[in-house]
Symmetry: C2
Subunit: 201 residues, 2 copies
Amino acid sequence: MAASKTKPAAEEPNRRADIVRAAGRLFHEKGYSATTIRDIANAVGMRSGSPFYHFKTKHDMLRAVVLEGIGKIDAAVAKAAHSGKSPRATFEAMLRAHLQQLLGEQGRDFAAALLHESRHLEPAELAAVVALKDRYETMWQKALQDLKRAGLIADDSQVARLFLMGALNWTVQWYRPDGSRTIAQIARQLAGFLLGKPQRP
Amino acid sequence: MAASKTKPAAEEPNRRADIVRAAGRLFHEKGYSATTIRDIANAVGMRSGSPFYHFKTKHDMLRAVVLEGIGKIDAAVAKAAHSGKSPRATFEAMLRAHLQQLLGEQGRDFAAALLHESRHLEPAELAAVVALKDRYETMWQKALQDLKRAGLIADDSQVARLFLMGALNWTVQWYRPDGSRTIAQIARQLAGFLLGKPQRP
DNA sequence: CCTACCGATCGGTAGG
DNA sequence: CCTACCGATCGGTAGG
């Protein structure tokens, strides 16, 4: 990961990470194809040729952004999945974790790029991302199984999981940070929408 | 294909419509920014400058594609909404109509471009599209109201509608025409997922 | 990480 | 709708 040559004391600005962050934001806002190297360089205060000191190609930047996106989501949801709560509480915690990455300031650009720009990766890169995505979605499939076993849901099929992923990922299209609903509220409402109101709060 | 100049009797090929169709397919496959005028010209058997005889700019092509997309979906779902069946049957017919436009050969490119490329429109064009989209989604809000009145669903809020739109529109990401599920089956399964199994088939 | 640059390609146009 | 073309911009590189 780190490409430092001389190891500076403590406050070394990590320029590579800066580029990934700026690229993520721009890929999210304008799309991969409409974002230029000059846009990215500009955003981090470099000249147009300099990002290539950190990345060989524009595609490599996209790959870094997308991998960062799926890594963050996977870690956050995996943690929620193993919190040892009831099936319903675990599920709601997973919803919250996913939405937090998708909509929160920390991860939204990476997540949005993952969802909408992955297709611009080259086939081999895309295959690697798809493999990670499949592993991620397996976590959700298991969560649905647990809910069904607990009698909280009737359908735990793969298509049901895809409906769920749709409801979740579509929030990117309409959520506004300054809107009237918090991320936690949205997670709770989705849980209620899918499972009905909890019997005992 | 045919490049006739003189006006043929009845079978005049509508070149403008050809361009819109080709543009829709390419915008869907590669995205707006990654699609070139030369791609589009090529797809309809023209030279690179000729599409500009039919459209002033590339943006105008995108606008035509997106308007075609929302026009088709709106018409199809409006027809299903007024079929005079029971709330549940009407709702399922609306799901089917929406998915048919989204996933079927006739409309998928237009619909996908509408969902994913609209943001490349200029502000004024985008505002017009958003207005049409709002009108469209109002139909769904009413459908949810009817379902709630009929006791088939607990939550008919705006967020519930957005969850529904997410589940629907996300199908674009995973549906395969040669897969094991038909469009009608997906519509039925989504109805069951949201409303539970019907009491009397 | 900058300067200076290159070949390729892009959206669009003039004139027929 | 084609031919011929243009200015702008793009991803990327050489050499420091």
